[in-house]
Every structure is written in structure tokens, then in C-alpha cells.
Symmetry: C2
Subunit: 150 residues, 2 copies
DNA sequence: CCTTGATCTAGACCCGACTCTAGCTTCTAG
DNA sequence: CTAGAAGCTAGAGTCGGGTCTAGATCAAGG
């Protein structure tokens, strides 16, 4: 039932270094316990929490925010509002990020399509080419009118 | 028609420091020209290119990749395929990132909803709470069956 | 008994992308 | 003529998020 840091590393996908680092950073709710010889012991719950952490991280939540969350948890019941507020804040942030990426993607797709056509016609070199002022100018106009669906 | 670094900073939204930094990093296609007194002079095209750079950056393209692109441009016509390949690689990357964010978002929304319900019923403290093994376990099961639409 | 491998700590190092500082020059307005 | 703003360079510092190293300890197997 007890897991060594190596096992946790393997199962969580984090390095042992990262696990110790996370601990120093206060990202564990309950202080990591030790064997009499000083070695860390983890349990299933730790793995579950780490899975959540990794998910939050992959969505761009900074460690500092995860720490804030876990600090609220440590303070015990009574601050559920703050916890929710924090999560919703991040939700909003992720939504905005998605929109930003989608917009860039639309512009890029459009440009790539235009470029492909030009290349096909042998008139290449007229896209995102800052050493070709003519093209740059033409193109940046196009950029102002991205695909209708954007 | 000539722009000083300060003007470019203001109009591009980048700091003068960042502009000099970008130049050192080789992110300009044509070497930035200087006045006889050593001061940099920029032109509209530079602003246009910087706008593109900023867009690419905001979509997560690393400076190193922008540099690769601009190096292809500097080499002149003939490598349009490589340029397109580079842009498509990034496109794919952005698509994947969007998917990743959408997935996390779905999970977060679900969890937040569950949490809200629990809080409403006064049974709070049962979500993403690694010091409450019981809750953690229940919850991580829920996590394995995210909203049907995910 | 000895090696191998996992662990420990403290602290150095890395990378990306800037940001800022020091010390100097140069332009512009009063 | 002079103060202040804006520029210049080289190089140091920052921040986030780790990663790695050195040197010590410990447990197990041959």
C-alpha cells in the first residue's frame, strides 16, 4: 500500500526530482510522511491528487495557483466559495486561451491556403515575407479580413 | 516614414528592450538599419512583421521557430515547401493544444458543478480534496466518466 | 564483504523570454 | 548652454518550472 518516490514517479509521470520539488513548493495537502530511515512514503490518494495536478498544469494553471487551492483545502471546510471562485477564474482563463488559439489558427489556416495557391501558381514568396514589402503589404490587408467564419 | 525604436515599441506593443532582444535573436528578415548616429530605424513593414510575430507568439510558437521561418525567408525563394511544412507543424500543434484545453475544461466544469451541488447541500469539501481520501476516491471515479460530450 | 541501486539533502544549473542596469552618447526644447 | 528624454552596448537579473549534481546513507543480492 505504501509507495516509494520511485514508484510514484513512474506511475504519475513526474520525475522524482519534480516530486520533491512539488513537495518543497507545498503542493501536497498532507505533508509527505517518512519511513524511519527518512524515505518518503506515498499512497494512492497522493497519486490521485498528482493526476489532478498534472491535469491542471496541462491546462496552464501555474503552480502558485495550485498552491493557493491546496492551502484553502488545508484550512479545512468553510472556504468552499473561495475554492470555487479560484476554479472558475481558471476556467475563464482557459476559455479565453482557447478563443485566442482558435483565432490564430483561423488566420494561419487562411494564410497557409493562400500561400499554397501562390506556390502552386509559381508566384511563391508572397506571404509573411518581411523582405518582400510588396507582398507583406498585400498580405497584411488580407490578414485584416480573415476567413468569414473566424 | 522612418520610425524610431520608441515609436515601434509603442505601436507594436513590444518594449524597446524586447525589440533589441528580437534583433539579437535574429527575428528580423532584413538587418535593422541604423542612422549615422547608430540609432535604429524601422519601417512600416517591420511593424507588419512584428504584428505577425506577436500573433505567432501568442499562439505559443517559440522564438526559435520564428527564427527558423525567417531564416528560410532570408535564403530566398525555393524553399516554400519547408516554410509551409513549418507552419503546418505549428498548426497541428495548436490544434492539439486546443483539444487538450477543451478536455480539461470539460472536466473542470463538471467538477465545479458537482462541487456546487455539494456545497448547496452542505456536504461540501468532497472535491479535489486530497486530505479527504473518501471524497478523493469517489471523485476520481467520477473523473473517469466525464460529461458524455467530452 | 562489497557492489549496485534507490534514496536523501542542499544547492547549483538550465531554458525561454524577457527585463533591467550601468555608463555613455546624442538629440531637442527652453 | 544645459537639462532631460531617448538611444546605444554589454551584460546581469528575473521568473516559472523544473533538472541535475555532489556527497552521504541504506538495503539487498552475489
Amino acid at each position: 500500500m505504501d509507495l516509494s518516490i520511485g514508484e510514484v514517479a513512474e506511475r504519475s509521470g513526474l520525475s522524482v526530482h519534480a516530486l520533491r520539488f512539488y513537495e518543497r513548493e507545498g503542493l501536497f495537502a498532507n505533508p509527505v510522511r517518512r519511513l524511519s530511515n527518512g524515505r518518503r512514503i506515498y499512497h494512492e490518494e497522493d497519486l490521485e491528487w498528482l493526476a489532478i495536478c498534472t491535469k491542471l498544469r496541462s491546462s496552464g494553471m501555474p503552480l502558485a495557483m495550485i498552491r493557493q487551492y491546496i492551502e484553502l483545502v488545508r484550512q479545512g471546510p468553510g472556504n468552499e466559495h473561495e475554492r470555487l471562485e479560484l476554479l472558475r477564474r481558471h476556467e475563464t482563463h482557459v476559455e479565453e486561451r482557447i478563443r485566442e488559439l482558435q483565432e490564430t489558427l483561423a488566420v494561419m489556416r487562411y494564410k497557409v491556403r493562400v500561400y499554397e495557391e501562390h506556390v502552386a501558381r509559381g508566384e511563391a514568396d508572397r506571404l509573411w515575407n518581411p523582405s518582400h514589402p510588396d507582398a507583406a503589404r498585400t498580405d497584411s490587408h488580407q490578414e485584416c479580413r480573415p476567413p468569414q467564419g473566424a
